[in-house]
């Protein structure tokens, strides 16, 4: 019994298919290919999609991604897809709080820029979608829902911008942490220009996702997915406060800046032709 248990668990760890087949040997009620007659077969169909991505976790930046995509299903389980969109991004309240307090901090004259401050904007990626799982879900016992579970991987290009929360090139009010041209010290919204050091770039981006697509009628679908946008970070280290406050370039690029991950929960709609 113990040996059999260990054997089963080892099989589970290796793959889904093996234990399932073993289980079916014991349970011979259903066919081996139980869900073979799919109600929905996307193979050979073109589809368009629209989606909104919300951030799962925000540290210094928050992104709200709006996407449109076109996909062609080569098979029922495999598709190629291109997506493009725009990510509305902003600094979080924590980033603003840091920027305001750091202006008046005299005990840190030399420091490094913070990581993961790049904000993604326009982006376009192409990738493949593999949906090995086709299933049915019983909603409240009476309403079956058909779905595909898939993984997605691809890459492309994106435009990024970066606004520092450390380097203020023109300090307006150090005590109040003001580094913009606001007309009222209490009204941040009245500013039309800020003096934080900013950069922009276009860089490669890689995206991966896992998700579900629920079929609705013949041509519609709802997509729920967890998507990670990954791109290389880039920031400077050994910055000298006196230099940046005089508007001079200071510091050097970090040698191992690492990768930035933007993890999103994506809710989308798909239409198949």
């Amino acid at each position: 019994m113990i040996a059999r248990t260990l054997c089963v668990f080892a099989s589970l760890a290796v793959s889904l298919a093996a234990p399932v087949a073993a289980a079916q040997d014991d349970e011979n009620v259903l066919d081996n290919v139980v869900v073979r007659n799919r109600l929905y077969e996307p193979g050979g169909k073109l589809e368009v999609s629209f989606g909104v991505g919300l951030p799962l976790q925000t540290h210094l930046t928050a992104h709200y991604v709006f996407n449109a995509g076109v996909a062609y299903n080569l098979f029922d389980t495999f598709a190629v897809e291109a997506r493009a969109g725009y990510a509305a991004s902003r600094h979080t309240g924590l980033a603003r709080s840091i920027s305001e307090s750091f202006l008046n901090r005299e005990d840190k004259r030399v420091t490094d820029e913070l990581e993961d401050l790049w904000q993604m904007n326009l982006h376009g990626v192409a990738g493949v979608r593999w949906a090995p799982i086709y299933g049915k879900l019983s909603l409240l016992s009476d309403l079956p829902a058909h779905f595909q579970a898939y993984v997605w991987a691809g890459g492309g290009l994106a435009s990024f911008k970066r606004n520092s929360v450390i380097q203020c090139t023109q300090v307006v009010n150090r005590e109040l942490g003001i580094c913009d041209n606001r007309t009222s010290v209490d009204d941040r919204g009245s500013a039309t220009q800020n003096f934080w050091a900013h950069e922009s770039r276009v860089a490669p981006v890689v995206s991966a996702a896992v998700g579900f697509r629920f079929f609705i009628l013949d041509t519609h679908g709802v997509r729920l997915e967890l998507r990670d946008w990954v791109f290389r970070d880039n920031y400077r280290v050994n910055l000298v406060r006196d230099a940046w406050e005089e508007g001079q370039a200071t510091g050097e690029p970090a040698r191992s800046p690492g990768l930035t991950h933007l993890v999103q929960f994506d809710l989308g709609y798909t239409f198949s032709f």
């Binding site: 668990f9 087949a21 259903l30 007659n37 709080s97 079956p144 009628l217």
Partner: protein, 438 residues
């Protein structure tokens, strides 16, 4: 248009069928464990030319139009000796018998069902008016040697969209038949790794286990324990400390060492899926909730290097006990069942606990002030008038291995309680584990 038509037919037929198509007794026994069949087959197929009699099955053909009868073909050819199964619930799949267009000529039709001379008592149809015989009733066949339940009733012989949905000898199940019943079973689950996924200021990795007793098919009682063998402040928080001299409030970066809670688990949804078209798995969506307690701690000092007499010692991070807190838990996920005794679980749980940091290692602000004053005068801590809960020994002495003087940590402990902070923390973690059912 089709959904509305389907819905209308569903309502109309349900009211008509309820009094005249009672389920067999043996079927009802199983229906108590197995939810009613889905309304999938109630979606009307596209109009097709009437067909007087069904044909024998021709095997899985290429997929017909996306209409419901394709589902019925999944189990329309059960293996030989297939046991009688629950008849579908009343009315959900019934269609007007006089509507020949409801017969799907694209779907494979099972072989004629067993026919006998007398109706079995288990059918429960005695004394009831027989419904009108449908045009799509199969040709009767003689198989008196079969042990299967007799299906003399015309209603049981009716084909709905080409499938004998009311024949207890034939398994025509789509999602409605759960292969494994949970009611009355015990389940022991181990999660080798639980990883916090929302850690802004904290990071937790641990191991958890829970015991579940399935009181009913969709309702279970649960007891769970978890130990976080890694609980520390996040790299992000340490980065803020290092680069901008900012850090989270003590309450916001409270760490959970272990937790134990009890609660309930419900299984509102279940389904099945095919992996690459040749493997079947049954899964359930599980939702859980509970309450319990958890032990917390806070980072007093990160790992540092201590230089003494030209020798460097690596001093590990130091944590202070911040007491036990009330903890709530909500979660959800999937349970994939393999066979009768094994399952995989993938869940996300949110451990919610209140956090108020006004004592560290039992010492409050007044205690730390007294300890700090005593440290500056090199006074013995035992002679101080401290609160009873203050474990001052933890801030006294020198570590023989690292030569670290623990008195240097007093000021760090004081910083945590100088401004008592409170927060409600959400520790959302991903759980992946396996279960044994018995």
């Amino acid at each position: 248009m089709r959904p509305f038509l389907s819905l209308a037919l569903l309502v109309a037929t349900a009211t008509q069928a309820a009094p005249r198509v009672p389920a067999p007794a043996f079927a009802l026994a199983q229906v108590q464990q197995v939810p009613a069949p889905g309304a999938e087959t109630s979606v009307p197929p596209p109009s097709t030319p009437p067909q007087s009699l069904p044909e024998a099955p021709v095997g899985p053909a290429s997929r017909p139009e996306p209409l419901v009868p394709t589902e019925a073909t999944e189990a329309s050819a059960p293996p030989a000796g297939g046991r009688p199964n629950a008849a579908p619930a009343q009315g959900t799949d019934e269609v007007p018998a006089s509507d020949p267009s409801r017969v799907d000529d694209t779907a494979p039709v099972p072989a004629p069902t067993v026919e006998t001379d007398s109706a079995p008592s288990t059918t429960g149809m005695a004394g009831q008016e027989a419904p009108p015989v449908s045009d799509d009733a199969p040709v009767l066949a003689s198989d008196l040697g079969s042990d299967a339940p007799r299906t003399t009733d015309a209603q049981q012989q009716r084909l709905v969209n080409g499938a004998p949905l009311y024949n207890p000898n034939v398994s025509v199940h789509i999602v409605q038949k759960k292969r494994f019943a949970d009611a009355g079973r015990h389940e022991l689950t181990v999660y080798p790794a639980t990883v916090q996924v929302n850690g802004k200021y904290t990071h937790h990795v641990g191991t958890a286990a829970h015991y579940t007793y399935h009181l009913q098919e969709n309702f279970a009682l649960q007891v769970m324990g978890q130990y976080n063998w890694h609980s520390n402040e996040s790299a992000f928080n340490l980065e803020l400390i290092d680069k901008v001299r900012e850090q989270a409030q003590a309450a916001s970066s409270l760490l959970l060492v272990w937790g134990a809670h009890a609660g309930v688990e419900v299984t509102p949804l279940y389904g099945k899926f095919a992996f690459l078209n040749n493997s079947l798995a049954q899964f359930s969506v599980v939702l859980s909730g509970g309450a319990g307690i958890g032990s917390t701690r806070h980072l007093i000092r990160p790992a540092v290097t201590n230089d003494v007499d030209g020798e460097s010692f690596r001093v590990p991070a130091r944590f202070g006990d911040t007491g036990s807190k009330f903890m709530g838990s909500v979660g959800g996920g999937f349970r994939l069942q393999f066979g009768e005794s094994y399952a995989l679980r993938v869940e996300v749980r949110d451990l919610i606990y209140t956090a108020r940091v006004d004592r560290v290692d039992g010492c409050n602000l007044a205690d730390f002030e007294a300890l700090e004053a005593a440290r500056s005068t090199n006074q013995d801590f035992a002679s101080l008038n401290l609160s009873g809960s203050c474990r001052y020994e933890k801030f006294d002495g020198v570590d023989p291995k690292t030569k670290k003087n623990y008195r240097e940590d007093i000021i760090l402990g004081r910083d945590l309680v100088v401004e008592p902070s409170s927060d409600v923390l959400n520790n959302v973690s991903f759980y992946a584990g396996f279960s044994v059912l018995f």
